[in-house]
Structures are given as C-alpha cells and as structure tokens.
C-alpha cells in the first residue's frame, strides 16, 4: 500500500512509521477503496462491446485498474458500460438493469451511438443516446472508441469517484433522486412514462 496516496497533507508522520501509518479522511480512504475496485457489468450491446472485451483482454488488461471482474449480474456491479447502439426494443431492459444495480452506481456511455445515436441516429428503432433515459457520468467518443479511449473514460470515472464526499453523494441522501426510473413501454412506438403529458401536449399542438 502506498500511503502517500492516502495521506492528507499537513500532518507530520514520524519517518519510522511512514509506509505503515497514514493519516487520512474517511472520504479519502473510502473513495480510494471504491475506485480501485469498480466492477463493471458484463453487458455488451454492439460493436463497442468488442472493443470493451479487447480492453479487458490480453493486450490492454483492464485488471491494472482493478476492474477485471466483470459481473453478469447487475446486483453485483458498480458500473454500467453502455457499449453500443441502444435500440427502442432494448431500452426497457437497460433501464431495468440500471434500476437493479445497487448504489453507488455509474454509467459510462461508450461510443457515438450510446452517447447520442451515432451513425444510426435517424433509424426508426434507435434511441438518440442512453442519457434520454438514465443519467450518464462519462461519455467516451469514437465509433468504436479504441481501447485506449475506453481506458481514459474509465480513469475519468475513477477521478469522479475520487472527488466525491459521502456527506453529499446523492445516494446517501434521504429520499433524494433515488426513485426507480420508470420502465419505458413498447407501444406503437417507445413510450417514456415520464413524458406522456409532454407527448400529449405536442401531439395536440401539431394537430392544431
């Protein structure tokens, strides 16, 4: 353990115990532990998933970041890498998986499609970015992003974790922003239950 990473500056530690003793804050040690053990969900959507697998495999070796344990179950994962085109048929399942992840949870939108629809944006079955449904922490550009780009995105997630304070993290606040995201409905087209009033208003406006 490298204690320098943990030490809060300004405290003098006697030289004989440096390396064994660290003076730190709760946030610092808690975030240090969390960011070095992010478990991504084993969840691939499209082309980007292949680059995600390459990132985890022989050459790029995700294990260097403590992230090599990809969990197929959302209940055991901290990070959802949305790796590929989000279709309308798939989005109810993605939202359900997101709801099933325990907090604290992070979302990384990998590639052009997950960030905003990408080359397939105009398609009738394509959602224009996963951030229309679930909150995204880091966007990684590219089509597909190279493994280096994904690693950079994952380091951004680590940076974000480092800067968090458990006192004001949203998942430790009572009743704040933790309600499950309602599952979209596959009707004549994709219906987002949060937006039905807006749809109704817009439909009425355009018909008038």
């Amino acid at each position: 353990m490298d204690t320098n990473e943990l030490n809060v500056p300004g405290y003098e530690i006697p030289p004989e115990v440096q390396g064994q003793v660290a003076i730190t804050t709760l946030d610092r040690i808690y975030n240090w532990g969390r960011r070095a053990s992010v478990w991504p969900m084993m969840f691939g959507l499209a082309c980007c998933a292949i680059e995600m697998i390459c990132t985890a495999a022989s050459r790029f070796d995700l294990a260097r970041f403590g992230m090599e344990i990809m969990r197929p179950s959302p209940r055991q994962s901290d990070l959802m890498i949305v790796s590929g085109t989000v279709t309308k048929k798939m989005v109810p399942i993605i939202v359900r998986l997101y709801n099933q992840m325990p907090e604290p949870k992070y979302v990384l939108a990998m590639g052009a499609c997950a960030s905003g629809g990408g080359p397939f944006k105009e398609g009738y079955n394509v959602v224009s970015g996963i951030d229309k449904f679930i909150p995204v922490d880091v966007y990684v550009p590219g089509c597909p992003p190279t493994p280096q780009a994904l690693l950079n995105g994952l380091m951004k997630i680590q940076e974000k974790i480092t800067g968090e304070h458990w006192r004001n993290s949203r998942w430790y606040q009572k009743g704040r922003d933790l309600a499950e995201i309602p599952i979209p409905i596959l009707g004549p087209d994709l219906i987002d239950p949060r937006k039905v009033e807006e749809y109704h208003r817009r439909l009425a406006e355009s018909e008038a």
């Binding site: 084993m42 969840f43 691939g44 959507l45 499209a46 082309c47 998933a49 292949i50 680059e51 697998i53 390459c54 495999a57 022989s58 050459r59 197929p72 590929g84 085109t85 279709t87 048929k89 798939m90 399942i93 998986l97 499609c113 629809g117 080359p119 397939f120 944006k121 105009e122 398609g123 009738y124 079955n125 394509v126 959602v127 224009s128 229309k132 089509c143 597909p144 190279t146 409905i185 596959l186 009707g187 004549p188 087209d189 994709l190 219906i191 239950p193 937006k195 039905v196 009033e197 807006e198 749809y199 109704h200 817009r202 439909l203 355009s206």
Partner: protein
C-alpha cells in the same frame, strides 16, 4: 483445384409455360413466377432441377408501379450459378404471397422479416410474427411511404447539412421532440397495457402440453437478451421438460438498427462504412460483399493489385473471426477466458495490420467501388508475411494442441447439437455450420468471385455436424486461409489500386444485383436494386448469422439446457449482422 461446375442454360419459361416469364426489365434478370403457381414451381425447382438451397428471400416495394415483389435466390449445393425468381403482387393490403416454408424451411425467418418490415403476408407460414420489431409497432418501416420520425428528405445528402452546414439537432425538428411517431388518434396517456411478449408466449404454448392434452410441468425459461453467453443482445425463449429442451424460439431485434432503411436513404458510397457495422468482427469481408454487388451493377472490375489486397484482407478477417469464435466457444463450454486470451493475442496482431492499411482497428471502411481506398503502406506486407508464414501457423497449432484432445471439450462436443447434412441444406445454413455437416459448399469455389478461381485452397469439410466438428472446422479454415494469404503475399503485383477515379457519387445504372461472398460466418449476400439515382432503391443484406439461426431450434430440441449455450457458441453469430 476443382473445376467450377458447368454452367447450364435454363429456360424456365419453356419448361413451365404460363407459370413463368422472363424478367425483361432493363438491368434485371431471372424469372417472374405466377403467384398461384409459386409452390408448384418451387417444388419442381428443388426436386427436378436440383436447386436445393434457397439462399435469400426478400421483398421490394415498387411504390411508383403500385407493386410489391418478393425476390428469391436459389442455388445448387453442388455449385454453379443460381436462379433468381420473383413473385409480383398488387400493392394493396393485405399483400399476400404463399409461404415457401413447407418446401424450403430456411425461408422461415426471412419471410417473417419481410412481413415485419414490408408487410407482406406469407399465407401458410407456421408462425408469422414480427421478428425484428415488437408486435405492437405501428407500420412496416421498409415500405417506401413509411417515414421515420427524423425524416428529412428521401435521399442524401440532405440540404440541411450541405453545403452551408447549418446543422440543426434532429430532436428540434421532430414533431414529438424525440425519435418517436405515433399513429393518428393515439393518446399516449390512455393505453399503457401493451404486452410485447404475448404473441411469443402464445406461439410457444402448443409445446407446453403433453400428447394427452394436459398441461404439464413444462417450464418456460428466457435466456437473454442480457446474458453473458448469448454473444450480444440475443434472447431465446425455451420450453423445458426437466432439463431437456422441448422447443425454443429465438427472439431477435434488440440490435435492429435499421441498416436497410438508412441504406436506402444513403448514397451508394455512404453505405460502405455501414457495412462495417453489420458483422463488426469481419468488416473487411462485409465491404467485399457490398463492393461486389455494386460493381456488378456498374460493370467494373478492380485492378489486379486491388484484387490481391482484397483477398488478403478478407482472409485475414476470416482468421481473426475464427480465433475469436473458438475462444468464445470455449468460454461457453466453461473454460472461462483463458483460451479466449490466447486467441485474442493473435487477433490483435491482425487488427494492427487493419489499422495500418485502413486507419481503424475494427471499422475499416477500406473497399471502394473499383478497388480499395489506399495502397498498402510500407512494411505491412512484411508484417503479413511474418504472420502468415511464421507466427500464425505456429500459434494455430498451439491452440489446437491445447484444445482438440481436451477431454471435456470432446465430451461436451462430440455427438452434441447434431445438424444433419439434409437439415443443414433445408434450413439454408451456410459457412462453417454447413460445411461441418458434411456439405463442401463454399461460395469461393461454388461461384468464384475476385481471384479465388486462381488460388489454391481446399474447402474444409467435416462429416459429423456436431459441436466438436464445428470447432475443428474453424481450425481447418484458418489453415486454408493461411495458404491463400501465403499465395497472395508471393504473387501480389504492383500497379494501380483503383479501376476508376475515386468519387463521392458513383453513377449506378438501373437494375438489380445480388453479390455474395463467403464471409467468415457464412454466405453474405447483398441484394441491391438501383433506379439510376444516387441511392439504392432497395438495399438488402442476406445475413448469415440471421439465417443460420433458423437451424438453431431444431438443433437444440432434445438436448439438455446446459448444451444450449454451447450450440449457440458453435454457430457463431454476431448480433449486428443478425438484427441489422
């Protein structure tokens, strides 16, 4: 080297007078069959004329003529050119065409797709449900009068983006502020009790009863679309009796990203990078198929050097795909990740070559109509030579030594998930799946394209049609691909790499073309109809992953549920291509 099968001239109009007429539209070929006689014609074609392999079924919406057309491409598994026949019907709902599933069971999913996207009802189809979209979806999107929510113009380039580039977000222009469109009179606040699974479960209900008619403890299990062994967002609904599979239905469309609709708005060249994203593991070979189809229409052939580069890249793609497939099959068999990491190492080296020639690891976008985008950079040929003559042969032997005699692989592979030769043909399977069932059918030999008729290689074939054979045939094919690459490295001439001047807009004369290549997953076909405009009128992909799945159900029935993932892994599907 085997000689290609002799070409016979077919005069179907003389053989079936009154039923069949030649398709005389300029640029078209093939035969137009009377709708009422379609079943008799297809039976005669299969039984008397020997066209036992129905490769592709698709529809075309000829809106200006007020017609819908169903296009079939049939081949002989002994090789040779195919026959292309069509049925034309009035474009008036319901558009009905007899189903060919009773004669060619391989048409099952393709007819469902034509129903889903074009609204052509196939009468007599055993299970005509939507396949890519969900059941309640409004409209049939590939019809020419169906418009998506972000519709701007019929054909690209859109005025909004060129030449001033005053780009506006599509969301701001759309009526609902989102990629959504509701049918007239629909109130999103009222009806919310849609059930996309109802039709599927009803289709499976017949298997949940015993012969005496009693409902038993048959269990319905859903695997996917989020599941580590489904190779993407693929879902299977399985009916189980204990642990034995009674029946199953694949559920697809979770990655349906509308290639064909977008492709019909794009200009011809714009579709090239989209083909990369079909089967994203084999982008070079997808480029190949599309380039061939459009070149057929344009009547050009690439120069010699470009042909060699193309074949070299396509075969490297095959190796990269097959090592990946073997690695992931082993994942499915429980050898979690170790064989995959060995396989990945080799794939990364091949990707380095792709990155050097095309600038991108995965989405190469390298082929152009009449050649390739750029010449091989310095040093790449040496790298390919090192790989093909030295490293890969060694590494493939190593991987095979580690796997082939492994007791668990043999126990789980031999005799499991058998697909007989007859079934493999009936279900229109292709690629390693067909060849592992003892049918030596390879488009590179059956109907040679590019320079394959000059190269020496054997069509890999294995007799048993089980999981083990399907794994081993991939080793065989890698070795044959290495032989081909070795020859291309030795023989590649100097010279130009484009037959025509590179252009953003290509002039494609009106007509139809079906270009097919032997992709790593099977026969990849592109059916293109041009009206002489800048965009294709119809752009259809015959995706091997999609059609190979037709045989998935029959292969699994009677097997244990634990073998299902292994069987799926041995087919080797990619969802980008399967759902398109």
């Amino acid at each position: 080297m085997t000689a290609p099968a002799p070409v016979e001239t077919l005069d179907l109009a003389a053989r079936f007078p009154g039923w069949v007429t030649p398709d005389s539209r300029p640029g078209y070929s093939g035969w137009i069959v009377e709708k009422d006689k379609l079943l008799d014609f297809a039976r005669a074609l299969r039984d008397d004329l020997g066209y036992d392999y129905l490769s592709s079924v698709t529809g075309v919406d000829y809106l200006p003529e007020g017609k819908m057309e169903v296009v079939y491409h049939a081949y002989k598994t002994t090789g040779g050119p195919g026959v292309n026949f069509k049925v034309q019907v009035e474009r008036r709902d319901p558009v009905e065409v007899p189903s060919l599933v009773s004669i060619y069971p391989g048409a099952e999913f393709q007819e469902r797709e034509a129903w889903d996207l074009l609204g052509i009802k196939f009468t007599g189809h055993p299970d005509l449900r939507r396949i890519l979209m969900w059941e309640d979806f409004a409209g049939h999107p590939l019809r020419k009068d169906w418009r998506e929510a972000y519709f701007e113009e019929e054909f690209k380039p859109f005025k909004s983006r060129w030449p001033e580039g005053k780009f506006q977000m599509a969301e701001d222009k759309a009526r609902l502020g989102d990629n959504l469109s509701f049918p007239a009179g629909f109130d999103p606040r009222k009806k919310t009790d849609f059930d996309p699974e109802k039709a599927l479960y009803e289709a499976l209900r017949q298997y949940q009863k015993t012969e005496s008619g009693l409902e038993t403890e048959h269990l319905l299990v859903n695997i996917g679309p989020h599941h580590p062994s489904t190779h993407g967002v693929f879902r299977v609904a399985v009916v189980l009796d204990g642990e034995t599979i009674v029946n199953l239905k694949p559920v697809m469309g979770y990655l349906h990203r509308n290639h064909e609709k977008i492709g019909e708005r794009n200009t011809f060249l714009m579709n090239m990078p989209y083909t990369d994203r079909l089967d994203y593991l084999t982008s070079m070979s997808n480029n190949f198929g599309y380039a061939l189809a459009v070149e057929k229409l344009m009547g050009i052939t690439p120069p010699e050097r470009a042909e060699y580069i193309r074949v070299m890249m396509a075969e490297l793609t095959r190796i990269a795909n097959h090592v990946w497939a073997i690695g992931f099959l082993l994942n499915d068999l429980g050898a979690y990740f170790t064989p995959m990491l060995y396989a990945q190492e080799e794939r990364e080296l091949i990707l380095d070559i792709f990155e050097a020639v095309s600038g991108s690891r995965m989405m190469c976008n390298y082929f152009r109509f009449g050649g390739v985008a750029r010449d091989l950079p310095d040093g790449v040929l040496e790298k390919v030579r090192d790989l093909a003559f030295d490293r890969l042969p060694r590494k493939v032997d190593e991987l095979e030594n580690l796997l082939a005699d492994n007791e668990i692989i043999r126990a789980r592979g031999i005799g499991q998930g058998v697909l007989t030769a007859e079934d493999a043909i009936r279900y229109s399977t292709s690629g390693p799946l067909l060849r592992a069932s003892g049918i030596p059918y390879d488009v590179r030999r059956a109907e040679p394209y590019s320079i394959y008729d000059r190269l020496e290689f054997d069509v890999a074939c294995r007799p048993n049609g089980d999981i083990y054979d399907r794994m081993m045939i991939r080793f065989d094919e890698i070795r044959q691909s290495l032989r081909i690459i070795q020859q291309t490295v030795k023989q590649i001439p100097a010279g130009p790499i484009m037959a025509v001047k590179p252009a953003y807009q290509v002039r494609v004369p009106p007509g139809e073309a079906y270009g097919r290549v032997e992709g790593p997953k099977g026969e990849l076909g592109f059916y293109i109809v041009s009206t002489g405009k800048s965009s294709p009128w119809r752009y259809h992909v015959r995706a091997p992953s999609f059609i190979n799945l037709t045989a998935f159900g029959p292969m699994c029935v009677g097997q244990k549920i634990a073998d299902l993932v292994a069987i799926l892994g041995s087919i080797d599907i990619v969802l980008g291509e399967c759902d398109r």
